[in-house]
Symmetry: C2
Subunit: 702 residues, 2 copies
């Protein structure tokens, strides 16, 4: 599955590093770069400063150019030269068979057409030579766990807390925010900052970390998606290894999209499609930067089991009520405490304490550290408790610092997730102690529960079965719609059940067709110029006799002639009428810029048009995803049967979704658009049948 | 309007205070109480310690009992004695004509039936004597602006930052969290902590602060609503004064309700109804404790004007994109910068900076404090900018501290709302400076935008016109449903247009009625035992001739006899058939435990039943609220006309909602339940007519 991704082992842990553009000039980026590699790293390999005139730098001999570097000694060339010099340097790297170059220089696709052309030359060079380029326009790569800083960032010397979280970002700076958030406790082991992704990009880095045994959770800050299919393959690598991928995707609102486009050169897909594909491939999507850090950290603790409920534990009644309220609103599973837990709490706590969840010890425990420690231990030992949320509503200086010490002590000896929430803005010594102890205290209850909700939901996603890789592909230029008859013939040949219909060119023929098919029938105008037949007066339903067929024939011709005098009528399609009482759905396919063909599904009529109640999946679709997809429809209850209606034939509907997915795969990139609207769905056993079909193919000669 | 609320002037700023239960014993609550009043307050009036044996306390002469206190010298008695002693003390207070008692003692309704009985005696005493009691079971009252601490809280001595925000809480402790959040910059002037509300309660405190000229925003932490009608009257006082009321309501989820009930003795209404009534009366509802503080603070700055857009201003491209994204998702109005602003920014910033909103100055400003100050000033001077959100993505120690100093300096000279967001968990000196400078920096972008969203939406609510006071009332015991004929007669007599229908007891009579009314008609069974006529087979639609009337007559009797052999049929109602194509709504009334009669409205069928798309208002309803209510329905677009449908008669629908509200007021507390389902709503000019009515009255003899 990982065939598509090159091995990045020598990039991540190189034996030799060349620093092209190294400098000792005060304030130069090239100086900060070599200082990081030589002075602030614990790099044990060889460093080769490249400088046109200098002979020695930080005690190391300099090389006048890449051409002069010793054979086979350099795994990574760090490139920090003027934009115009980047390509010549990369050509030299390729010639010297240096496998990786990290280009930090700016001035490429992010600054306009000229820069984009320069960047395209980098991409072409990589394709032609096998050189792999990281960047350009990026702060470099940081391997914290081996302490190798291939970056010009002056903050690298403070990035001192490695750990099992892998981080991949686009757009540079914000990754440092995640590092600062995880400065205590388990931290970030590798930080890839993808920049403009001329060659290597987020999918490469995700796939690498999926296979890196020291990385246990992958955190991603994403601005745009260059290649949805590759991204999905990388996500599948992570899922195959059981590693959660936590993504903050910027560009979800229109405002964000605009900013993302002016910031990096990448394609921002529609937010709904992105989120649906993330769900499909098990990504835990978060909504803010602090969530990226906190959710990634919490996912290190392993998946919550079915019995791992949340227990709220605090020393203030109002806080207990507020926290229980917010936890309930977040849909978290609340633990029911074991009887022995309640009994043990009752034995130590005052009578007016609450020994059920939410636990309110009362403020008495503030005066008795021994009691505080005992009670928290009791709750942590409860088999129904997976997570203890401990809100601390106020700062009482040394008193709450003592409580923090108790929490740290209990946490050190418990496998349970303990989530302290420091609700006061007075971030006193207790907060400091929790922070330095690596417990990552939240500063608001709603943030804590939002993050926990993602942890609980996220593990369900990671544990779901893997799904096949998508069928990607870019748009082609010209396209044309097939007639309904042509579209249905193509669908039928692909095994999709569509109504048995016949084209009539005279009224007599229509009568014969209707008799052959069996009444009742529907009649629909066929014209290359008419996409919306109902609006043109070109549809008649529930026709039950030969005279009615003749009347409908005349009616349709008259209406169409009046409303669409421009249209050439090729005939009238006579089709089996499906019984009323079926539910109508819409199934559609369009091409997403990032993910290629995307399947959409929703209930027809106002549900899609007014209420926007529609859901999406990247193609191909797996059977389990078909069921999950349908259950994302808000009005799904209508398919289950309400108000005395029998349940709809969900099995047939899932089969149809899968058949459509297969059809789209068969058609390949020439399929531009497919609209099955309405799809008739009967009761269980009656099937699901597209009654109308709009199909747009590139080079559509059918 | 404020007639219902007693003047609390002498409670808030008393001339003399008696401390009943004062003590000098180490650790006693009575000691902390008198210490707060005498040592930690700046109280200039007289203090009278009451103690059975002591003669002197803190240099003040003691009184053996309340009976011994000097005449007319005491405005407030602070009561901190055993629960069993509280009533005798209060009786003495009443006898001595002391106007106010603050009872801090616990052991009343919060501990069970016995305590509740004791509390009921307090309530009765107040009613009988005119004594006003605050509490019991509360930490007391804190007047920060005059520095009078009528509380036993040891934290009072640190409550040092008064200001124009008024705070009212239930359940005690969490109010201190708000005080700690507002410890710098404009703070809290008065803090009422209502406790069990035996007499005075949240509505009193809100109404007092509404009229207090030094209070500009009212913050409320609410666990339960004892008396919805009084609460609404208090909210109206605040609205009449143009003062925003910001409420955090605990008990929104089932979990929270359970905790709230075990914590204080109050009635938690349904969350949806509470929130709808809050919207109706202009309350700004927030979702977490930190929002209560931050939104209240931000609302001090006065209402955003129509042109007061939000400008995002930062020095990192990724941060700009993320912030714009989240601001867009929060629905905030983004400012379009004036051309001269862009030009001025372009003149100072590097070429690759973004000078449109979101503004990205690039990290260059970190090295140039002069440039940083100039750019922020330029943005603040833009006429389209009301709020500048300044995210600071990373902590760079002294460098970001310098940026904080710049923000504080510009904020001091600008009337614009500047909202710093400190995104790093490293809360370095820059964060400290912003915090101490009173700028209340947020620590997450999403929290900042959520709060701003409430500020922007909240002012719209405050500026909306005032609405009439509600018709409250408690439930009565026995109730019975009227027949459809009786219910419609009652509605018609109240001026509500219902279909002209006649009861037939024979088929011949039904034929005559149908001819008199005019075909087409509908026929519906009338039986006291049948509430759901359609399910019983008791309804026939679109009857167009005398033979059809006879057929329907026979059909209905046969179906009902088969399906509901238990039912006695009183006859068949013949009614005008309304033309198809009308939209169907449901209008209902039920009695909420807190707010009395509540009006609900939604589109009929699956919209209410499956999609739960329904909205609420307390009765009486004002015209402007009728329109706003309809616009809260998610599927409102269906009423405006989609897919070629003409718009519905919204005017008639609003008239009907108002007529129903009037009807409910006229009926008074005997009206238990009203269901108009369906309500037929035609196109503009065609009206809105309830086609069926279910009415449940107490003592319903009709």
């Amino acid at each position: 599955m990982n065939d598509a991704f090159p091995d990045l082992g020598r990039l991540v842990a190189p034996r030799g590093i060349a620093v092209v553009g190294a400098s000792q000039r005060e304030g130069a980026q090239g100086r900060r770069l070599i200082d990081n590699v030589v002075l602030h790293s614990a790099f044990t390999g060889a460093v080769f400063p490249v400088h046109p005139t200098a002979t020695e730098m930080l005690g190391l001999p300099c090389f006048a150019s890449v051409d002069d570097l010793p054979d086979g000694a350099v795994d990574v060339a760090l490139v920090m030269v003027n934009a115009t010099q980047v390509l010549p340097v990369l050509r030299q790297c390729a010639a010297r068979r240096i496998p990786f170059a990290v280009v930090m220089t700016s001035g490429f696709a992010e600054v306009g057409a000229e820069g984009a052309a320069l960047q395209a030359e980098i991409t072409a060079l990589c394709g032609a030579t096998g050189l792999r380029v990281y960047g350009p326009n990026c702060p470099g790569f940081v391997n914290l766990r081996d302490r190798i800083g291939m970056t010009f960032s002056p903050a690298f010397k403070d990035d001192l807390n490695p750990g099992p979280i892998g981080l991949a970002t686009q757009g540079g700076g914000l990754g440092r925010n995640v590092l600062q958030a995880l400065a205590h406790g388990p931290g970030v082991g590798l930080w890839f900052s993808a920049g403009n992704e001329a060659d290597l990009g987020l999918p490469n880095f995700i796939a690498h970390m999926a296979l890196d045994p020291q990385i246990r959770v992958i955190a991603v800050l994403m601005e745009g998606i260059q290649d949805g299919a590759r991204l999905i393959r990388a996500l599948q690598c992570a899922r195959a290894q059981g590693k959660p991928v936590v993504v903050l995707k910027i560009g979800r609102s229109e405002h964000g999209i605009r900013a993302a486009q002016s910031h990096t050169a990448s394609i921002a897909g529609s937010a709904q499609v992105n989120s649906a594909v993330f769900r499909q491939y098990g990504v835990v999507e978060v909504g803010d930067l602090h969530e990226l850090a906190t959710v990634s950290r919490m996912l290190l603790a392993g998946p919550p089991r079915a019995t791992d409920g949340v227990c709220i534990y605090t020393f203030s009644g109002g806080t207990a009520a507020l926290a229980a309220d917010l936890a309930g609103a977040a849909g978290l599973p609340m633990a029911v405490l074991e009887p022995r837990t309640e009994a043990a709490l009752r034995a130590v706590l005052p009578a007016f304490a609450s020994t059920v969840n939410p636990v309110d010890t009362t403020a008495d425990i503030l005066r008795d550290p021994q009691m505080a420690s005992t009670c928290l231990r009791i709750v942590c030992q409860d088999a129904n408790v997976g997570t203890v949320v401990f809100p601390i509503p106020m700062d009482y200086g040394e008193i709450t610092a003592g409580m923090a010490a108790t929490i740290l002590e209990v946490a050190a000896h418990s496998a349970k997730r303990i989530v302290p929430v420091w609700m006061s803005r007075r971030l006193g010594p207790g907060f400091e102690a929790l922070e330095r102890g690596g417990l990552l205290p939240f500063v608001s209850l709603s943030d804590a529960f939002a993050a926990l909700q993602k942890v609980y939901a996220g593990h369900a996603a990671v544990q779901a079965p893997a799904v096949p890789a998508p069928h990607g592909g870019a748009d082609a230029p010209a396209a044309a719609a097939l007639s309904e008859v042509q579209a249905k013939a193509l669908l039928r040949s692909a095994g999709i059940d569509v109504p048995s219909g016949r084209l009539a060119t005279t009224a007599d023929e229509a009568v014969r067709h209707a008799e052959a098919i069996g009444h009742p029938v529907v009649m629909k105008v066929v014209s290359a110029q008419i996409a919306h037949k109902t609006e043109a007066g070109g549809v008649r339903l529930d026709i039950r006799s030969a005279p009615d067929v003749r009347a409908a024939w005349a009616d349709i011709h008259a209406s169409v002639a009046a409303r669409r005098p421009d249209a050439q009528v090729d005939g009238i399609l006579v089709e089996k009428m499906f019984p009323p009482g079926g539910r109508e759905l819409l199934i559609g396919v369009h091409r997403d810029a990032a993910f290629g063909p995307v399947l959409s599904c929703g209930l027809g009529g106002i549900h899609v048009e007014v209420l926007k109640d529609v859901t999406h999946r990247a193609i191909p679709l797996e059977r389990a995803e078909a069921g999950r997809m349908l259950r994302e429809i808000r009005a799904f209850a209508l398919l289950q049967g309400v108000r005395g209606q029998p349940p709809a034939d969900l099995q047939a509907l899932e089969d149809l979704l899968l058949a459509v997915s297969d059809f789209v795969v068969q058609q390949g990139p020439r399929l531009r658009e497919l609209d099955l609207n309405p799809v008739w769905v009967g009761s269980v056993g009656q099937g699901a049948v597209p009654l109308d079909a709009l199909l747009v193919l590139d080079d559509a000669a059918a």
